[in-house]
């Protein structure tokens, strides 16, 4: 078939182009703009080249924040994914209790981030919080505002409480799609419970679990509100993750140049990781479809 040449057709994509420009490209470009300039005030800017990027790449502060961030994501994934699978495997398969569990487990997912932060902020307080007070009464020296370890534990437990349900619900959906015949065949083949999990349930859940891991990784990598409300990044900088540090730099210190360079690199890291995930997932799909 011969393609018709009609250059006017370009006008048809104009609306999309405008939309994307205003929603993404132009705001992003202002950040790019800040990242290559410096100022001494009076709204006078001058060219700084890639200095800010260079600075940031050699800044301990940023590397430390990144380290904490990666550790946080790794820990919550290591807890939430196995725990979510465990919960999914043990949920009732049908009937009233199945629906009840689904609704009940969805509740934490519906609570706004800052409310979650506030809940745990109060819950963990030694003077009036149920958790903090109870731990204190049991003779456990717990204080998330002063002790780094306690702060980390609280932030992680909060995230596990908030998001494990997501992994569990996705895993549950994956499990429900397995026909009964598979379980029956496994019984006939005298498979152990572990073998059923390893060779039937896990392969069938692999797809949704990949999505769960991707979602949880991205969300935790960009986490801001909950730890900000809970610990404000403290004690010291112990729970200052990338987003918190970025906001401190941009709005607290008003260091627009370094903050812009920082956020661009942050953005690139997230894009790169998403791309890796996407590639892995599509190759898995292809292998499945073959």
């Amino acid at each position: 078939m011969n393609k018709t040449v009609n250059q006017k057709a370009w006008f048809l994509i104009l609306p999309v182009l405008l939309l994307v420009a205003f929603s993404a490209v132009i705001p992003l470009m202002t950040v790019v703009n800040y990242s290559v300039q410096d100022t001494f005030g009076n709204n006078q800017f001058f060219w700084a080249g890639l200095d800010w990027f260079d600075d940031m790449l050699h800044s301990d502060r940023m590397w430390n924040a990144l380290g904490r961030q990666l550790m946080f994501s790794a820990i919550i994934l290591a807890i939430e994914v196995p725990l979510g699978i465990f919960v999914a495997l043990n949920m009732p398969k049908k009937g009233f209790w199945s629906s009840f569990c689904l609704v009940f487990m969805s509740l934490p997912l519906l609570i706004p981030w800052n409310v979650v932060g506030t809940i745990w902020q109060i819950f963990g307080r030694v003077d009036i919080g149920l958790l903090g007070y109870a731990l204190d009464a049991l003779g456990i020296d717990y204080n998330y505002t002063q002790n780094t370890f306690d702060a980390w534990v609280t932030v992680i437990v909060m995230d596990v409480w908030h998001w494990t349900s997501l992994v569990a619900l996705l895993g549950y959906a994956g499990l429900r799609s397995i026909p009964d015949a598979y379980y029956q065949a496994a019984k006939i083949d005298q498979a152990s419970r572990w073998a059923v999990f390893r060779y039937i349930e896990l392969p069938k859940m692999a797809g949704v679990l990949m999505i769960a891991i991707l979602l949880r990784f991205m969300d935790s990598f960009m986490i801001y509100t909950e730890p900000f409300v809970l610990t404000g990044g403290g004690p010291g900088n112990a729970t200052t993750f990338l987003s918190i540090d970025l906001v401190k730099m941009a709005l607290g210190q008003f260091d627009l140049g370094p903050a812009a360079a920082f956020s661009l690199m942050y953005f690139l890291v997230i894009m790169a990781i998403s791309w890796v995930f996407y590639t892995v997932m599509t190759t898995l799909d292809k292998r499945d479809g073959k």
């Binding site: 015949a181 029956q184 006939i188 005298q190 060779y199 073959k290």
Partner: protein, 360 residues
């Protein structure tokens, strides 16, 4: 290998079955003789799979007992029963290779590697998949997957019984014959008790020594293919076995004769029957006639199926089929049908009754 006894067995999927209709499987007593090949035949939803799942332990019956060689296994888990079962739709372990799939049940039993290897090789040859042994199972076609499922059942040589739940539904016709032959051969070689569920009468009749016909949760007849053909115990058997199925005529039974409408038909014995009485005559035993004798009939259409012709007739408003040999002429003025007395079965309320003085 074992004799499997069903003692007073019945099953309902409802928690509190009240009437007969609540039971998916109605009360049943039967011995599956060790080493025989059975076909379980019946239309969909008649309880065949329920019965199979009870035997393999996937389902605990709501009533009665099941014994393997006299030992009660009613509530024993599947693994203890040592039974192989193949399902209607292929089940393969996606992430494993074909070889590992076939070896899976043996590995679970803790068999040593050399023996596993020998058996896997042998079964792979039977299902014609030696070349694909190292492939991942997930990429295979449906019939290749079903062959693996069959293979997983056949690889266990010491099983008490091999159960097949319509295993060839997804296999293409050419392969069906071949696999059925393999299964028969397997049966001859090892002498397992085999139960083969199907709703395809050809499959049942070619596979089995004995055919068990089920209807509405009840076993209506157990017999050799010949018995089922000649003496169907229930009108359902007559209708279900044979192509086309048995013809039924409402009739009044009066000793050695029956009346269809106002025509008298000779029977081959003396019958006394009450209730709703019918004569069952297979199409093969119906003769067309034009000389004024027999039951009035009109030819509606003739179908030539190659081996013979099927004549569709209208007899008192009911469709009746007759089978006529390929070479035989069908007279244009055919207006009556007659029956060979030995081809007539008498039914009262759907169950066959025997002539006086005989027991069958």
């Amino acid at each position: 290998m074992a004799k499997i006894t069903l003692d007073n067995l019945a099953h309902s999927y409802l928690p509190n079955p009240q009437s007969d209709a609540d039971f998916a499987l109605k009360e049943l007593n039967h011995d599956w003789v060790d080493g025989e090949a059975y076909a379980l035949l019946g239309s969909s939803g008649c309880g065949k799979s329920t019965l199979l799942n009870i035997i393999s332990g996937l389902l605990i019956p709501s009533q009665g007992r099941i014994l393997f060689d006299g030992k009660d296994v009613t509530t024993a888990p599947t693994a203890e029963r040592n039974i192989a079962q193949v399902f209607q739709f292929p089940v393969v372990y996606d992430t494993m290779s074909v070889r590992d799939n076939l070896a899976f049940p043996l590995k679970n039993m803790g068999m040593d590697a050399a023996e596993i290897k020998r058996r896997v090789q042998k079964v792979a040859a039977m299902i014609d998949m030696e070349a694909e042994l190292n492939h991942k199972a997930r990429g295979l076609t449906a019939d290749a997957k079903q062959k693996i499922s069959l293979g997983r059942g056949m690889v266990r040589e010491d099983v008490n019984a091999l159960l097949f739940d319509e295993p060839l539904t997804v296999i293409d016709p050419h392969m069906k014959w071949e696999l059925r032959t393999q299964l028969k051969k397997l049966h001859q070689d090892f002498g397992h008790t085999m139960i083969y569920v199907t709703h395809d009468q050809t499959e049942a009749l070619t596979f089995a020594d004995k055919v068990v016909v089920m209807y509405d949760g009840r076993v209506v007849q157990i017999g050799t293919p010949q018995e089922l053909f000649e003496r169907p115990a229930h009108t359902f058997v007559g209708y279900f076995i044979g192509s086309p199925g048995m013809n039924l005529f409402d009739a009044q039974i009066d000793g050695t004769h029956a009346r269809i409408g106002d025509v008298s038909v000779a029977l081959d014995g003396h019958y006394s029957a009450a209730g709703h009485t019918q004569l069952g005559v297979r199409p093969e035993f119906i003769r067309l006639s034009a000389n004024g004798e027999g039951v009035p009939a009109t030819i509606r259409r003739i179908e030539d199926v190659g081996r013979h012709k099927i004549v569709r007739l209208d007899v008192m408003g009911r469709e009746i089929n007759a089978v006529v040999a390929e070479g035989e002429d069908i007279a244009a003025d055919t207006n009556r049908i007659t029956f060979a007395p030995e081809g007539i079965n008498v039914y009262a309320d759907d169950w066959r009754i025997a002539p006086r003085g005989t027991s069958v």
